[in-house]
Structures are given as structure tokens and as C-alpha cells.
Amino acid sequence: MKVHPGAWVALVALFAVVVGLQVLQARQRPLGLPPGVSANMLYVRSPQFMQRAALSFDALVADIYWIRTVQHYGGTKLSRDPNKQFDMLYPLLDLTVSLDPYFDVAYKFGSVFLAEQFPLGASRPDQAIAILQKGLRATPDNWERAQQVGFVYYWWRVDYEAAGNWFNRAADMTNAPNWLRPLAAVTLAQGGNRATSRTLWMEIARNADADWLRDQAKFRLTQLDAMDGIEFIEGIVQQYRARTGKLPSSWEDLVRAGFLRRVPDDPSGKPYRLDASTGKVTLDPGSSLNPLPDPAHRL
């Protein structure tokens, strides 16, 4: 049967109308939400239900939830909304690891970004521990899960006894690396120190297969470098004081006296600040390395 030429015209016209209307719809301002109300939606929150509903496609559904997790984290982190929150991070990760209990990167990601302080993460170390312990129930001999639980206790909970015990538990597991046992011993004996922190963050940076995780570990390592720098320069300030009997009033005093070649910069490129009244060295308020780890870390 021959198609009427008008039908083709109508087809093209209707297609143009549909696309045009869609463009109009996209330009509409989205309906606003009251302050403090999250716009994030998760229709299914029950891992048990989703495990059944996924039938034999559980791994693929886990991938979809993983992609949503990354999108949620990235979208929230970049958002300028003053009410932004990482409220979906835990349920999304919970669904991901329930559907695929071997999803290694989800545990690594979850242990860091659930625990990290807002706005870097959800400020929920308890949820990070819950996700990791769920992983341990699925794979009880996975030393990485136990080490990650220890790390959450070490860095965010600042509970060195629990951290050391978890490192010991990880060291007892099959294929555990030989650096875990000394790490546990040092943590239990001395609590927090910079070398231990560096070992843990370097381990994350080395094994991270997600860019954000690697970047976060590198950021923390750079902060530790900055703290090394601060400690070193404060030592120089004390040397100056020992020689001259007074604190330097500015960096120039130290440069003129030959203690420094120039004004020292932190690893981000911003100059350190010197408090002339106390001799304390701090980061410039504009430095991207702010805020340094809480003094409670005793690093």
C-alpha cells in the first residue's frame, strides 16, 4: 500500500512537536522543596526484597546501585545546595553489597566516605562499620574488611584500642600482609601516630580502584606531609629562639638569619603562617589542605 505523502509530513511534524515540548519541559523550573527536605529518592530500601526481585541478575542490579552510589556522592559533593546531604549513601551501599557481597570497591568507598566528616562524607563512621561488618559476615576470612573496620576506629572514632584489636584480627586471617601485626602492636601501644596513619592511607591509595577514593587518600597523605612540614619549621623556629633569645616576628627574620632560604609553602603551594607571639606554624586559611586532622588524633 502506498503511504500518503501527508503522512510523512505529519510524522515529521509530530516528532518536532514532541521534541519541542520536551525542550519546553526541560526549561521549566523544578518545583522547590522546603529547606532541609532531601530531594533524593530511593524507591526500594530493603536489601532482602531486592535480592529476591533481582532473580538471577543480582550482580547487574548491584552494579546499577553502585553507579547510583557514585552519582549520588559526586552529585552531592559538587552541589551548591546549602541543604545538601549524603542521606542516600548508606542505603545505596547497603543495597549494593547485599546484592553482591564480594563488591570490594563498595566496601572501600563506604568505609571512607560514610565515615568522613561532612562535606567530604556523611559523618557516619557507625554506618561505615555496619557496611564493613556486613561484608565480614559474607566473607569471614577477608582481612581487608577487618583492617578497614580497624581503620574507621583509628581515624574517625579515634578509638585506638578497638582499632588495634581489629588490626590484630585482620592479621590472623588468611593471606593477611605481614605489616598488619606490627601496625596493631604500635596502635595498641602508642595510639595514633603519623607513620601508622601514613601506612594506612598509602594502603588505600595503592589499592583504590575508584578515583575518588585514591584522590581522598592522596589528600590525606598530603595533609600528613603538611603536618611534617609544620613540625619541621616549628623546630627551626625553636632553633632561632635558642640562638637569638626571642621568637621571629616574621618569615623574613628566619630568611635573614639563614635558617630558611625563602618563605616556606605547604604542599598545596600556599605559604605557611607564622604566629609571632607563640612561634606556632599553621596552614594559610586559604589552603586547600584545611582542615588538618583533629588534634584528638595525636598525630
Binding site: R52, L55, S56, F57, D58, A59, L60, A62, D63, W66, I67, V70, Q71, D100, Y102, F103, D104, V105, N207, A208, D209, A210, D211, W212, L213
Partner: protein, 268 residues
Amino acid sequence: MSVIGHVAVNVFKESVRDKVLYNLVAFAVLLISVSYLIGQLTAGQDVKIIKDLGLASISLFGLLIAVFIGIGLVWKEVEKKSIYTLLSKPMRRQEFLLGKYCGLVLTLIINVSVMTLAFYAVLAYMEVTSPVNIRASWPAPATDLNLLKAIALIMIELMLVTAIALFFSTFSSPFLSAMLTVGVWVIGHFNQDLRDFGATISSPIAASVARGINYVVPNFAAFDVKLQVVHAQRVPFTDIALTTLYGIAYAGFVLLGAVIVFSKRDFK
């Protein structure tokens, strides 16, 4: 060539004529486009996601072919009334039915084989193009041959689904056959729940009935080792052998049932 072989080859030719193999193009396009998009969407895990997607697609495409071609195998001959001509030839009903089954299984084997080749081609490309440090973080190489274990079990599962679809198509309409086949496939994933039913209800009779159903309904969950092979978990050969034996035995049982029903059917 035997009668069954002739019928089987005709079923395969018919599926080619019906453009069933077009799904291979869809599979290839899906896999290649997604492998590109995944890199933009998610940080890391590209190979894991491609493996998951590839295996799920092989399973899903195969399932759609098994169900929607399987249910029409007998019905089409009845609808076109060509069944009268066919059965008037020196061919027994069971030969006709088994030929139909073997033809669709042959179509599925060719489909799954080509999809597997395309799947491995994409994985090989990822293996070659990924930096050494990324490759080191994978639990297994991209082109890990253990993936074939999952694909082999998918194929056995599809043989069982085809037998079930053919069974239902010997006595019901295509729509009903499709619903029943998909229904059995879905229920077959809840065997564990049927087994554990006793823990959630107080009636021992209902619990026993549920446990009984668990042994009767095909256990499709047993054919799913996709998650394990993708994460390089050990899948013992004995498990694969036992599941294969179970699938073949169950398919044989269902086919026998189909032959009996079809033999009794009155086409006058």
C-alpha cells in the same frame, strides 16, 4: 539424517528467517556502547560491570529466545494447519516434538556461542587497553576462562527453559504458555525461600508443603554462578557437573511429559 535432525535443522533455518539472530547485533551494540559509557559513569570497576552485563545479557537474550520461540514451536504448526501435513508423513509425534526442541537448542547454542565470542572480544580489548596498575587490581584477568563455567550453566538453564516452554505449548495458547514458563522460571529462583518457609510460619503442614514444592520446582538459582566467576571465587567442578546433570535430567523429564501430552492430543 534422522527425522529429528531434519526437523531441528528446519527450526534453525526458520529462526534465521524470522531474524532471531538479530539479537546478536543488539547484544554487540549494547556491550560496546555500555563499555564506553561505563568508563564515564563509574569510577573503576569497568571490567566487573562489563562482565556482569555480558553474562546477564547472554542469560536474558537466551531466555527471551527460549520462551518466545519455544512457545510458538508447536502452536505455529497448529495455527497454520501444517501440523496435519507434517504428521501425515512418516514421522512420529515424539520425533516431531524432539526435533523442534533440538532445533531451538541448536539456535540457542549458536546464539550463546556468538554472544560469548563478542563478549570475550570486548573483554580482550579492555585487557589490552587497561593500564598495568588497573589490571593488577582485578581479581582475575578480563578474559578469565572461568567465565565459561557461568556461560555453560546458562546454556543448560536455557535448555531446561526451552523444554518447559515446549511442554506448555503442547496444550495451551502462546500467551498462557509464556506466562506459565516465565512463572516457573521466577518461582525457580525462590527455592531457598520455599525451603526456609517453615521458619516464618507456624503451620507444620504448610511448611512441609513448601519444602515439598522446593524439591519439585526446577531450581533455577542453582544455575547462577555469575557472581562467583566474576569475582574469581572458586566454583567446584563437582557443583557444575551436578547442576548440569540436574538440568539435563529435568529437561528430559519435562520433554517426556511434553511427548506424552502431545501424543494424546487430538488434531482431527
